[in-house]
Amino acid sequence: MLRYALQRFALSVVIVMVAIAILIVMLHVVPGDPAVMILGPRATPELIAQTRQSMGLDQPLPIQILTFFGNILHGDLGRDVFTNRSVAQIVFEQLPYTLVLISVAILWSAALGIALGCYSALRRNTWLDTLSGILSVGTISIPSFVMALYAVLVFAVWLGWLPSIGAGEGLGGSIIHLILPAFAIGISWVGYVARMVRASMLEVMSYAHVRMARAFGLRERLITTSHILRIAVQPAVTLIGTGVAHLFSAAVFVEVIFARPGIGALIVQSVNERNYPIVLGAVLVTTAIIVLATLISDLVIAWLDPRQREEL
């Protein structure tokens, strides 16, 4: 298990490094000069040359990539173009808001989704099974930012039940301000997870080891939890692991729509200001978290199902 974990970790580090390299290469191959982008069309050639130098853009491409990797090891992601503050500091100030938002979203939706999926598989064709089937088709076809707009429209504008602007003050305020955003991001995952768990439960229920457990007279509850669900939950775990990327995309919209602080709002603001170092730093941190989430979900599956440890 440890060997497997280490191998997977090494691969993840390489993937993140390649992702960064791709971004830096893209910056080079596309027409246009980031220095000109930042300074605007009327900047003097001297100023452009100076900015290029301070951003390290005058160096050859491989050197730039290596310098960037070296700086990351020192925890240095570059400097804000306007305020000269450390990008790492700015990004890590905003990151907790986003992490809390997507964790809450995925926790409530995965818990409800797995429960609904289990129930639907064990009690097929009951009204709750049918309802969750219809609900999942309906919610999956609504993109999260449209869902967020409707959440604002219905619960904040029409009903006036919940606030729709900002992240709130204090613990109580933060929780109340988190409800609508977490709902908007999570709702489509409930249906997704429920359908997936239902389908894989039905498949696993027909496996030989389940029949054997039943023949041995194990209690139904024990069979369901430790012999069926343990295997049947795996596709959902993979789905959530790879879904973290979608969660970050959804967080961008939800943070903008609910005027919340967070890494998504930071990226949008920095794109508007053409603050390239912050965009690069924020994309890098997001990508690293996504790769880490995929790694964790693979390890969870390896822990749930020893058969998976063999393959890399």
Partner: protein, 302 residues
């Protein structure tokens, strides 16, 4: 949904089928006829494509003309979906936005299919090191969230219709390429391909006669199911002001106007979102039906 398609249409003539397999067209019609959601999907997609092609003739007003009626009007006989904050006719804007959405979807998926096919074939047939390098790049590209990656690209080349197409193409290529690669690797050592090679068939013949037809079907079905994703990405980036730029109507731009005036009128948000939801339902249902028709092995077990 799929249970009906699997059983009802073929049940009565099960014996005949052993003697003569009905043509693909017959089977398709039966499946679509017996599959309610598939039929709904085909109708929705047909309507949307029709509206996109004939947009300029269908729209009752010029989609960018301001003050065609009162501002923020609710639906009325003159303006079926109401008007926005500049008094523009929402129905005309939704129809024109559909044209933009379809254009982006066609261009982006076309580029993604072409890129995915060629890179996948190169990875599958090329030497080991090339395969590994490409796989690593695919994995790295897949670890960017589409919207975040899109925003990074916008910082570099600025917002435009082309940027949206580029972003979707780059983020979709790895997915298609991986499928093509797996299929190619699986086919590489199958006996009939080995036999062809033993008979002296060149790589081009093997590619075009054997590999491509096997790979293309599942790929096209996947692409049709990806249309909603592309459209949501276009609408999302345009909503943030990072995609299609304002005077051009796009569903995302309509939604952004609606968001800015959400406390004054719900109609722009409602009319900008309904086509996105209908497109998603239409293409998803159609994709599932297509999958059932062309590749029963891929049928999801419910």
């Amino acid at each position: 949904m799929n249970e009906t398609s699997a059983t009802s249409p073929t049940a009565p003539d099960a014996d005949d089928r052993l003697l003569s397999e009905p043509s693909l067209l017959t089977r398709s019609l039966r499946l679509v006829g017996g599959n309610r959601s598939g039929a709904i999907g085909f109708v929705l997609v047909a309507l949307i494509v029709f509206a996109a092609i004939f947009a300029p003739w269908l729209a009752p007003y010029d989609p960018t003309a301001i003050m065609t009626g009162p501002r923020m009007a609710p639906p009325s006989p003159e303006h079926w979906l109401g008007t926005d904050n500049l008094g523009r006719d929402l129905l005309s804007r939704v129809i024109a936005g559909g044209r933009v959405a379809m254009l982006v979807a066609a261009a982006a998926l076309g580029a993604a299919l072409t890129g995915g096919l060629s890179l996948g074939l190169i990875a599958g047939l090329g030497p080991r090191w090339l395969d590994n390098t490409l796989l690593l790049i695919f994995d790295a590209l897949r670890s960017f969230p589409t919207i975040v990656f899109g925003l990074a690209v916008v910082t570099i080349i600025g917002p435009s219709l082309f940027t949206v197409i580029l972003v979707v193409a780059i983020t979709s290529i790895p997915i298609y390429a991986r499928i093509v690669r797996t299929q190619t690797l699986a086919l590489k050592n199958v006996e009939f391909i080995l036999a062809e090679r033993a008979m002296g068939a060149g790589i081009a013949r093997i590619l075009f006669v054997h590999v491509l037809p096997n790979v293309l079907g599942p790929l096209l079905i996947l692409a049709s199911m990806d249309v909603p994703l592309v459209i949501a990405t276009e609408a999302g980036l345009s909503f943030l002001g990072m995609g299609v730029r304002p005077p051009t109507p796009s569903w995302g731009v309509i939604l952004n106007d609606g968001y800015n005036f959400i406390r004054n009128s719900p109609w722009p948000v409602i009319s900008g979102s309904i086509p996105i939801i209908l497109v998603t339902l239409g293409f998803t249902f159609m994709g599932e039906a297509l999958r059932d028709i062309f590749d029963p092995r891929l049928r999801r077990t419910h």
